[in-house]
Symmetry: C2
Subunit: 435 residues, 2 copies
Amino acid sequence: MFAVPPTPAMIAFASSWLLAMGVLPWIRVVAHLCAFRFAQRCASGHSGPFRAISGHFGLFRAQKKDPIVDFRLTFGSCLRDQLHVLKGTIAHVAPRAHRATQGAMGSQQQTGLRWGILGAGKIASVFAADAKAAGIRFTAIGARDTGRARAFADRFEIGRAHGSYEALCADPGVDVVYIATPQAFHAEQALLAIAAGKHVLVEKAFTVDAASARRVFAAACEAGVFVLEAMWTRFTPTMIAVRERIARGDIGEVRAITTAHHQKLDLSRAGRHGDPALAGGALLDLGVYAFALALDLLGTPHSIAAAGRVDVAGVDLGAQVLLGYPDAGASLSFSMAHPGPNDASIMGDEGWIHLDAPYFAWTAFQRHDASRPARLVESWEPYAASGMNGTRGMQFQALELERSVAAGLQESPLMPHAHTLAVLEAMDAARAQLR
Amino acid sequence: MFAVPPTPAMIAFASSWLLAMGVLPWIRVVAHLCAFRFAQRCASGHSGPFRAISGHFGLFRAQKKDPIVDFRLTFGSCLRDQLHVLKGTIAHVAPRAHRATQGAMGSQQQTGLRWGILGAGKIASVFAADAKAAGIRFTAIGARDTGRARAFADRFEIGRAHGSYEALCADPGVDVVYIATPQAFHAEQALLAIAAGKHVLVEKAFTVDAASARRVFAAACEAGVFVLEAMWTRFTPTMIAVRERIARGDIGEVRAITTAHHQKLDLSRAGRHGDPALAGGALLDLGVYAFALALDLLGTPHSIAAAGRVDVAGVDLGAQVLLGYPDAGASLSFSMAHPGPNDASIMGDEGWIHLDAPYFAWTAFQRHDASRPARLVESWEPYAASGMNGTRGMQFQALELERSVAAGLQESPLMPHAHTLAVLEAMDAARAQLR
């Protein structure tokens, strides 16, 4: 890790290292220096009190736009005493293949971090069971009343049960707070935990919109704590394996992604999904998986088109979304008002990967080549070699947090703040097109 | 069939008939009279020399926009002596369920129609084999040279082999011409056949754009001959069964359609697909199935967004397309430059239908209900009870043409000119958005 912006000397060093590693055929070196972009943003006055910026510089193939090896950089600025302070980190000085294998399946880490859970609902239970199985250490649970917290604590053998979220965040025996409440409350509760100096894992959708997320990241930056969106499917062995195959060229350049996520949920006001006060809606609850997958593999879209239905209470029931890129596209279809398929496909010039239903999980995948008809060349099963049979897969995000904090990072290289923001910005743009 | 525009008396008659049939609960009668829209178009000067217009009037549920029972009407005008002549036909005076069962599987009809094939390529062979098995009577084949035509005639036991398309069209022993050449030539050759007074079945895509199609329909209208786009998947027992299930409410209101069509084809200039001179491109070759399916079930889209790639020669390689409707949406994904899935899903409030890969064929489907997880309630197999094992399914469009001509129609109720035009107009709109 470097605590300063990359200098020409650093770039030269990294370049020569990569050339020595045998990437000599890639003859054109192009450096997109984030510092330059950052300065541009500040100069244009659009940076706001906080703005996470990520960029890359890398080695490019002649006549190809996509870098073969890229360095990812993440910069942030905090509004502190009205001065923008530039913090630069080289988050990845590694070729893609290396990046893809990061966040591997290691469990039972001994980081000493003590976790508290904020919220005692269904998702908190699934997470607690999975994370405990992976060696995560829980010391406290906080719920809206003590009885509820106590019952949860007893079930998962957690030491302290707090009857309020404030008490949980004030607990000096907690280093990390996992926020497992409906998304309408995430921003407020994340700010509460950050103010108490805790690292935070925030259930997805991270916040109800990008503006709220920027406030949370700004506070985390000022407080110097780690914040991660609980986009658990990004950290599963499934997606690590998928990214690895893409990085090594198994399916060629990614050209198209299709995702399907359709469930007829309880949309009465009694349930979370149909309640506008709880920020219920298909976009934040279902669509977030699709946007996160597409943006992980294709980056920030150049164009967004969305069509969908909004009910009388203002809750979006589902949508079809088109994400356009210069050389690729993604078709996302999701709804909580009707049933349908729940799989996804990632297509490249030389093959394609089918993610089994439900794709938004620690799922199986099949890889096909480009012959006609396409030949199945790999069938990947989720639990083999993981040593984690019986878990749902929500532990991997907790392990990613522990690994990142141990490395002194303030954000995950696999799901940096800029990615969470890009997903929320894209969903904001889609929402604006729904009627 | 009525040869005049519907009058208020006709509407009253039809309404009372339907009310007598037990649809009394549907209390609001709304009439969209095509004559009115037609007059509007003429008045606005946008109608051009020919414009097919379709519309509907029907019985509507209170507070619902979608008609439960609809009458479909198709109007056309011909530029004849500079006068627009209005021809009105009530193409469907039938509830949806009746419409869905039209074009059933009957074969070996004895209409006496004599068919000629224009073009001796691959698709002509498949069609000839299927249609012969269904009792279609071929009397002539025309190709660019006599040897090629003779070989085809020998293979399929067809009497006369013509060495030019002109000779085929001039053959007095031919009543119907099936045009099986690359789509760049369809309009010109259809006009040739129409000028000779033949009925025409034109391989899809019907023409390269909507403007060309309008010229063909105008000529057919003037000549009084039948013209049909060979959108063969619309006439298969598969789609008849699918429409029947939708009409009887098995999956509720259709809310979303997703289609996937991905094949890595030969895109060298030697092949048809990559040749701009032959109007090669994914939109016309692959996308046409997706647009035709979506527009069949959801109607003309209210919004169209497309993202895709065009190669240096101007050939579109593939695209993601979003079709927006007030209460539904369709996500279409297709490419001829990379492999991927080839299935489709039709989702409604109460269930969904999965069309097996390749969905653009006489395929199998599975119907699921809306429980969680969705329960398989029907598995439909294509060849059962068809009596047509061993055929690919291209005969059904020929049977539809024979049935329609025998009924004195100038267009198919299942694929009227307005549908072909709507598909081409939507593809024109999508093409304009590809870079």
